[in-house]
């Protein structure tokens, strides 16, 4: 009889092994879990995610195990005879109370994190980010720095229907821009988010921030990156035809390089995928005239 059960059991096992195999190591395209992130809050949020994922997986595996054990032992073909019990108050109280306790255990750290996430006070610098159909603009308040940020030329060309360009040949396809946002490391950056037309959402997975850009209203959020690097994201709220084509690139740099960038000595180069000195490379003025 176990022969007939082997198929469903193997299937269930395969599904859950793959679910349980979540790992943070990047093995190329087969990413299974969230990036750990590079901000002061990202680790805490990641741990919360990991905790609830593990608890859910364990309960789920337990349930599936019980159900498959029932199939193995309580089938008519094995001569099982139906019992006639209809309820058990004790069992029902237990399986109401235990989940309640588990939920309270989750609710407390979650609430603590929410309060930390929403505390935008004491920021070192503020950047007003505005969404448009289909690009972003970055306005460094008190810094006299304002620019638009659109998808880079190479991605844009490859993303045209029937372009004949293989997206795999385009570096950071759909995740590269003509002008990147640059912020200093270890500084609390406050983002003031709004929109000029429809609702957009600004998300960079490694920075653990996502919020909607609502026209006519300003949303606040903050992050403090603890590592330098280039972090990429995309618009995350359906905003029309170009929704899939308004990427975000955030360069986290040392304070010194950040100040050189502000002064115009360094600029983002979409081809080199990095900040370059402006006198050495004039392609930094990449813009997308065709938009």
């Amino acid at each position: 009889m176990f022969n007939r059960l082997r198929k469903p059991m193997l299937l269930a096992a395969a599904v859950f092994v793959s679910f349980a195999m979540v790992t943070t190591e990047a093995f190329a395209a087969w990413e299974l879990d969230m990036p750990i992130g590079v901000t002061t809050l990202s680790n805490e949020i990641f741990e919360l995610h990991r905790l609830i994922l593990i608890v859910c997986t364990v309960i789920c595996v337990g349930m599936f195990g019980f159900i498959f054990y029932t199939f193995a032992t309580c089938r008519r073909s094995q001569g099982a005879k139906a019992a006639s019990f209809t309820h058990s108050t004790k069992a029902e109280i237990i399986w109401t109370i235990i989940p309640t306790i588990i939920l309270i255990v989750f609710a407390i750290p979650s609430a603590r994190s929410v309060i930390a996430i929403e505390d935008t006070s004491g920021a070192d610098l503020s950047i007003k980010v505005t969404g448009y159909q289909w690009k972003w603009s970055y306005d460094y308040l008190d810094q006299d720095k304002f620019f638009y940020s659109s998808i880079d030329k190479a991605s844009y060309a490859a993303a045209q229907k029937g372009s004949g360009i293989d997206p795999a040949t385009v570096e950071h396809y759909l995740r590269n821009v003509d002008k990147a946002m640059v912020v200093p490391v270890n500084q609390k950056v406050r983002i003031l988010l709004t929109s000029d037309d429809v609702i957009h959402a600004w998300w960079v997975p490694e920075l653990y921030v996502k919020k909607d850009a609502n026209p006519g209203f300003i949303n606040e959020m903050w992050f403090e990156a603890t590592e330098t690097g280039i972090f990429r994201g995309q618009c995350t709220e359906l905003c029309g035809r170009g929704h899939g084509f308004m990427p975000i690139v955030v360069v986290v740099e040392t304070q010194e390089n950040y100040e050189r960038w502000l002064a115009g000595e360094l600029a983002w180069d979409a081809t080199a995928q990095n900040l370059v000195a402006t006198n050495l490379n004039s392609t930094a003025e990449n813009t997308l005239a065709a938009r």
């Binding site: 995610h49 109401t96 609430a111």
Partner: protein
Amino acid sequence: MSATTQDALHSDDHHDDGHMPTGLDRWVFTTNHKDIGTMYLVTSLVMFFVGGSMAMVMRAELFQPGLQFVDPQFFNSLTTVHALVMVFGAVMPAFVGLANWMIPMMIGAPDMALPRLNNWSFWLLPFAATLLLLTFFLPGGAPAGGWTLYPPLVMQTGDSFPFVVFAVHLLGASSIMGAINVIVTIMNMRAPGMTLMKMPMFVWTWLITAYLLIAVMPVFAGAVTMLLMDRFFGTSFFNAAGGGDPVLFQHIFWFFGHPEVYIMILPSFGVVSQIIPTFSRKPLFGYSSMVYATASIAFLSFIVWAHHMFTTGMPIAGQLFFMMGTMLIAIPTGVKIFNWMSTMWKGELTFETPMLFAISFVLLFAIGGFSGLMLAIVPADYQYHDTYFVVAHFHYTLVPGSVFAIMAAAYYWLPKWTGYYYNETIGKWHFWTSTIFINVLFFPQHFLGLAGMPRRIPDYPVQFADFNMISSIGGFLFGASQLLFVAAVWSSVKGTKKAPAKAWDGAEGLEWTLPSPAPYHSFAEPPEVK
């Protein structure tokens, strides 16, 4: 009024003579709950394939990075109309069809309480659906702002905008009338002795669902009417430039939208609660806690709507309230799943197709439930929100959830409807292909979402290519397997193996006391329930 009553009595006499209108008239003018149920079910199956074809086009476009087949705007229209068609054209009408067929038979009534209203509520449906689908051919194309119709984006819809609003109004009117009919029937036409707490679980879940429908469909109608006013009559409900707020729409929409998702899942709970005891040869475990859990879920559905909106910029207190409210839903839902597990425990299980689909429902709906719990945790939701993780979550609750329950119900009651068993081999093939491919289709989408792929995009960065290809392959195979369902239904309609009155040896309930196929009018004499 009395003339109407006379007519009704007269036509009843007419039917009692054994006559029944034939040809097109039978279907257009019918007031018979079985004919109307059949029309609902057939319509929903057709819409399931229409909406499914749209999904196939989307999965073909997403098969690999780059744009191969469709324009991004058309892709957005497909996302939008796929959802509207599946929700309002496939899943909801299928449950109304099941309610029409089964509720009178399960409570010992001759028909639904309001047969003419029943005819009207069905016949609004094909016209509303046609109106919705015709928008593809209007200037500016079909709506492309997502089924949630968020302004200001939805205001950019072309000429089809008022047609969509009108289609939604018609669908809403149809649902409300169907719900009124269900409530009046259950409240007034139960057989003597059938107290509320003796009703079959399917009847209970539908009673609660009907109240949800009456509560929230007018809210949705109001929301789309406000959109209409903003667009054509100069109001500014959702326009910040005129003092309105686009997020207000989201609050109104999800006040409808969250109960709506329970409208699509509560009757599934009812179906599964009928099928599992039958094939376990054991009464449903914890009947009364099942009823109370259903009622609790319905109540909670009204106070959790903003968990769809954590990223819109809500006050902390709001986020915490909606997080905790949402987490509470896990408790009654857990009670239900544990009750089904306990029903099977120490039973005498056999695995016919309806049971297989019901089991698959319990297992896979649990996965959707757990990812839902993860989504309730606000700090983590900031990462999950509007990614493929959400797409995977709600498809796990809607496809192996609602759709599998509908298919389980069809296999379970087909012998009662047609008088013949379906072909069990085809049924089993349909089950195994569906269950395997639905996981190939949707499980990898969890990984895509966690790795950072936003939803509703026609093209994606290349690091998402592998899982998208797997998901698309699963999608095509799942889509193709649904043709087996049509074959299985056909094998019952053109059946060879006659079904007895009690088609399943473990089945309990009044519907199994009627001959198979059930007579045109269910119970001429009310049965006695002890």
